[in-house]
Symmetry: C2
Subunit: 355 residues, 2 copies
């Protein structure tokens, strides 16, 4: 088994180092190889996703990814900006199924913006389609408008699209995931306005016929954004497209109050996957040794479970993280009165010790 | 001056009746004419926006709108569904500037899902572009995919687009609104992925050169969805496109905990406007006399201010609403221990009495 380690930018290096440390202590047999990605790769090789990094990612069974991005790259043309690396990996590896759990840890309930009773015990799984939609649809670009409100004016445009097999496969992923949980799927669309999402809804309903044991409901994206605030615990599995999923999964993650704890997985049809924390590269605190490594460590656990077929090892990591929280250790982002503030490395060490 | 009264479906009739009662007591000189819209118009005339209703709306200086929609119309083909009426009015009247305040009333802070300290005194103005974007972009429909992941498969698609003058005019609206408030605009985009929103950002920056007294910042839509939960009070004016604005304005409204209090205005270049509550038609409670009429009454106040040039009358209504809240009157949606529960009509009567 081979794991590609892509730390990236900002706090990426620090947090990935802790996850690698945790993996090593498990005494499993795997090989790791590290490569540059994002801004770091651009600075060294002139491209955020160099051929060599892409080749490594393709060959690996799984990718442990840190984070990419830094303000200093904001002025680059878009195709060279750090986030193109993550879009490129998703596309080239066909990582169409993005799992983003929004879990509120018992010990961290108070950290949420929401009143504790609304989030205590929260456990939602957002499944976001990750290789289609307006993210990749062609044509796109700039041109002179031929119709619309201002014919003759300069305009920019993008294409939203979903094909039947793309919707079918992500719907299967969602129903299968729901079977292992609360047996309820909420499909989020905007069928009242968009052709793409009327089709999405139609196809999800068709696929649902194969899962009579799973409950399905449909919600417009604007309403979903509201219901997440009002009563997040009513959701079990949420499935939606790439663009809506981008927005709702971040909203849901922030609702927990501890985005520094939330892992994610992006899988292709062969269960090859990219694993990364839900948070970003936080260049403002990079290099200070204060970032929370737990989302990355929990991403490594997801990797063991989904791509490397080591569910017991995944369970062990997750239990170790809970033990460390129960012992009162906290990085600054989740710290509160009465708990012990620790740095990135101490937190990683504590998880290792708990193992 | 002529006001078109379009009550619509569900609770629409009940709440609009209270707002009309409030307008009448002000002793201003205006004419009103009422017409069917939405599902009610479909049932009577076979179309959610009949020619006669559209003609009335065009001729009026302002439109007071209730709400449209009911589950019983879900099976209709899309072009006949109630919400097409609102899309049609926006399009035919060119109502490109949607003002959606998210205000947390002092007396209702506890009603929010968020901790009181995060929302006390909240006052955000979301300005959503309302006649462009993927809502109206052509082409759209179903076809056989010629490229993408599954060439040959059935697919559905829509077109996102914005032209320079469309972005310029909404940017001007936002900067001018900010001048009268906290002098800060946050432009929400997804410039890291979408051509349309890179262009949006570029044009907003250009327009900003004419408003050196207003601060401008930019935020990706996924981050905006998070920051609204984390620290909503950091926002002043938020300007964004039709699709992102749909999602974020609903999220922001729900954060206040009292969406039954929030009005909205949709204006065209001639200051002709459509005024409606931010909430929907709530068919589940229609006809029971328990809906909150305050969002509609406050929409009537916005109408007086923006379209009918009666700012003092608008102020009077807003003060009356605050007085009624201070007196402890509450409809069920905002009721809490220690306050007096009243029905739709009693609430309207109380506002009239306070005037
Ligand atoms: C960096 C950006 C392109 C990316 C996205 O929009 O998908 C990010 O927000 C995410 O959710 O992984
Ligand atoms: C009913 C629907 C078409 C509409 C929209 O998406 O614009 C509504 O959600 C709104 O925000 O006014």
């Amino acid at each position: 088994m081979k794991i590609a380690i892509l730390p990236g930018d900002g706090i990426g290096t620090e947090i990935v180092a802790e996850a690698v440390k945790v993996l090593q202590v498990l005494d499993l047999s795997f090989e790791t190889e590290t490569a540059l990605v994002g801004g770091a790769a651009y600075e060294a090789h002139g491209h955020p996703l160099p051929e060599s990094t892409l080749k490594l990612a393709r060959e690996a069974d799984a990718i442990l990814f840190g984070a990419v991005g830094d303000w200093k790259f904001d002025k680059l043309e878009r195709s060279l900006r750090p986030e193109q690396a993550i879009l490129g990996l998703r596309k080239h590896l066909g990582l169409f199924a993005n799992f983003r759990p929004a879990i509120c840890y018992e010990q961290l309930t108070h950290a949420s913006s929401l009143k504790p009773e609304l989030v205590a015990g929260l456990d939602i799984l957002i499944i976001r389609e990750l290789t289609g939609d307006i993210y990749f649809g062609q044509p796109r670009g700039r041109r002179v408008a031929v119709d619309g409100h201002f014919p003759g004016a300069e305009e920019a445009f993008d294409t939203m699209r979903y094909s039947r097999p793309e919707i079918e496969r992500i719907a299967h992923v969602a129903f299968q995931a729901a079977r292992k949980r609360g047996k309820k799927v909420t499909s989020v669309d905007k069928a009242n306005v968009l052709e793409t999402f009327q089709f999405w809804k139609d196809v999800v309903i068709e696929v649902h016929a194969q899962y009579p044991d799973v409950e399905l409901d449909h919600m417009y994206v604007d309403n979903a954004a509201m219901q997440l605030v009002k009563a997040p615990k009513k959701f079990d599995v949420v499935v939606t497209g790439n663009m809506f999923g981008d927005i709702l999964s971040d909203e849901a993650a922030m609702l927990t109050g501890s985005i520094g704890m939330l892992p994610s997985a992006s899988l292709n049809a062969a269960n090859q996957g990219l694993y990364e924390p839900s948070h970003g590269s936080a260049p403002d605190i990079a290099g200070q040794g204060i970032a929370n490594p737990l989302a990355t460590i929990l991403s490594a656990a997801m990797m063991l479970r989904y791509s490397l077929n080591q569910p017991e090892a995944a369970d062990r990591i997750e239990s170790a993280v809970k033990a460390v929280l129960s012992a009162g250790l906290r990085t600054g982002d989740i710290w509160s009165e009465g708990t012990t503030k620790v740095g990135t490395r101490e937190m990683g060490d504590a998880v290792v010790a708990a193992l």
